[in-house]
Amino acid sequence: MDTVTKAVIAAIVLILALLIGYPLIRILTQAFGADGMETLRNVFTSSANRTVLLNTVVLGILVGAVGTAIGFAFAYAQARLDFRGKKLLHLIALLPIVSPPFAVATAVITLFGRSGLVTNKMLGLDYNIYGLTGLTLVLSLSFFPVAYMNLLGMLRSLDPAMDEAASSLGANRWKIFRSVTIPMLIPGFASCFLLLFVEAIADLANPLVIGGDFTVLSSRAYIAITGEYDVASGAAYSLILLLPGLLVFLVQRYWAERRSVVSVTGKPSGHVTLLRSPLARIPLLTVVLSIAVLILAIYVTVFVGAFTAILGVNNTFTLANYKYVFSGIGSDAMFTTTILALIATPVAGVLGMVLAWLVVRKVRRGRGALDFLGMLGLAVPGTVLGIGYALAFNKPFIIGNIQLLPALAGGGAIFGGALAIVMVYVIRSMPSGQRSGIAALQQIDPAIDEASTSLGASGLRTFRSITLPLIRPALLSGLTYAFARAMTTLSPIIFITTPQTKIMTSQILSEVDSGRFGNAFAYCTILIAIVLGVIGLMNLLIRDRSAPTRLN
């Protein structure tokens, strides 16, 4: 290994240690301190805390199951059913990815809450959406696109020859579905379930908005820190959150992915015959279309709500919500958030690509560890990350008498705490760059690098003139995800946001908290517009400069 590579590895490890290693260590030291240990013991002895733990697990399981089921229904309809409007359905299924977490929760409350448009005004019900039902609904709708994309990819890569083989052996469509399709997808189901489980238990925004009395670990940790000023307990709760998160992440990544039985031959031997039978179409399409309508209703609610005084109560058209968002605090938050995300995105993208390059091409021993270190930003629940950052960076970093770093987060920090927020954005977004980079690099035959070397190019030269141009599309999608993720991140931000540095997501939360849904809807609409706008711009910029020939 040459010195350049070694230096790059050292730099990356140092950056990761600062961005994620140190905050996690601070959580551990706090949680295992005297006060933290007290809380840890209480979690299993006090019945209130046991309920919180049980609630978290139940929520995770429900969202995992429901989200995977919805994702599968959408994916199967998309891949195997014959109907019109597939493109539209695809876009609807992806909508929740680019929206901030409260958009769905707030809209669901407006539609189905105690005085909800549908439940109360239309049906006259006295229905309470707050709690487990609401949380399951909102979280499943928010996270199912992940399952949808995964399962759609798997369904499309199933070799149609297997269906044909089963069919020629005398199996009918239903039998094929049960005995070929479903068993082949079991690792995919497991992997999606686990992913959604982790996302659900790690989420903080929705339990705060629609959780009601149903307390989960993340909201408990939030209350401990912001309400009870008990940092040690907060650290202890988040530690309990961290462990299943990491465990499930590891299992999902290194077991489910490896056990994938999907056969990628790269040369499909036939075409899938799309299902036309009404017996299959009617029930499946009913389910899928009702969910699609629900999603659309939610986003229409967000959009309309932003132009309405109080949707469902006072339905007069108004621009006051936008005026509020565009003036003063609102515009502040808008600009700050966008700029910080724009700073973080390229950093995260490049870091992710370099890490992917090291993992796939350069590092042999310890590549798993390096990969895992990079993915930690995704595996660690946002709540945990935020508490870790607050613990680690609220005070100057001092070893002995030497101050290595000034305070980065909190009120007294440099740049009004903006640096810590950028750091959170980077570590949170980097894994998406890393993942797409690894996928792209694994598609590139190592012999292409070697051919370049053999023709006299140095390692750096090969990376610049061969590798980088080839992974440009992956870089683009990595950057896109990184930006969307940064803009919509809430849970870690809540713990380190400061009066000087206002972030849109945490502004939305405070609007929702004080019942000003109109403002929240306006924020959400603008946030979605910014994300879509910047993604479109990035597409244009990077596409234009891309190579003349397309890759296969």
């Binding site: 040459d2 035959d445 012999a447 292409i448 070697e450 051919a451 370049s452 070397t453 053999s454 023709l455 006299g456 190019a457 140095s458 390692g459 030269r461 061969i466 141009p469 080839l470 190579a547 003349p548 020939t549 397309r550 890759l551 296969n552």
Partner: protein, 383 residues
Amino acid sequence: MATALSTTSKTIGTELPSGSLHLDNLVKQYPGGASAEPAVAGINLDILPGEFLTLLGPSGCGKTTTLRMIAGFETPSAGKLTLDGEDMLELTPDKRPMAMVFQSYALFPHMSVFDNVAYGLRLQKFPKKRVEEEVNFALTSMSLTKLADRAPNQLSGGQQQRVALARAMVMKPKVLLFDEPLSNLDAKLRVQMRTEIRALQHKLGITSVYVTHDQDEAMSLSDRIVVMRQGRIEQVATPEVVYRQPASVFVADFIGRANFIDTSIGELIPGAEGTRASVHALGASYAVPAHDALQANSHVCLMVRPESVLLSAAPEAVEVSGNQGRVLKSVFYGAWVEYEIETMAGNVTAVSYDPAPGDILQAGTFVQVSFEQDRAWLLPAED
């Protein structure tokens, strides 16, 4: 860093006869316990300037690892590698005056055919005009001129491999390295390409090391063949010697087809045209060409190629005994017929070329079996 004048930089257009590659006890041991067998267990080779040398062997025999150590993509665990007396192991692969052609072609997918071929020359900072001349000459000699502006994914497999060849040859390296370059092509194209490679290599006179597991390829291309097995060299010789006088049962079996008959040497008989060894096989005595490794009264393995087996009708015969055998299978291939014959020494494969109509023996027929003793070869008995 190498200067333009240094021999360690990739120089092209070397006029002096050069390209003498010397491998001295090259070893590759992958980490994973000292008990594990090394991938390459000490290879010694002297490759002459302009020679076409093929490393041949089954998968896992260490041939590709050896090639990659020469190229610099693998670092040897021990041993020396010199090119015209210059130590190669000190140089990173990009500094070695060699160019490699890959099994997967490894064309740069984001560059046109022209840019692919020009890549190495441009790295040398050649003037634009010179690059154009060299590339156009290379493209012309590979009949690729019309495809210069195409992208690699618009080419057929054979065209892609031609581009890969042009890209390596345009560098005028001292050594060309080939890693199974034809194995992704279909059979007819493979035959055509190997003729082209051989002709081009002859014309340019560049020392070439070629890795393959295809014996036809090795036979048709090589000045010398290196047969490898489990990280070691079994034999280094010209294609004819490797076929006619293999060094071991492994070589005889891997190259072409062979019948092996366990027997013993009676005595060694000196003669004007060399010593012969008397052996008893298939119910008769033969005097087979002997060589230094043989001793009188020792146990040996007699190798007879199927085309050296002689069959004649035995209408009287009713059982398998002595030199009498029975045809078990008879398969017509057009230009030849292949028989499997049950004999006292086990089943023997025989081939009869261009059989006259009506001369083809049917299964169940009894025959007298013998062989051309001048074409047989004696091998040390395998355990």
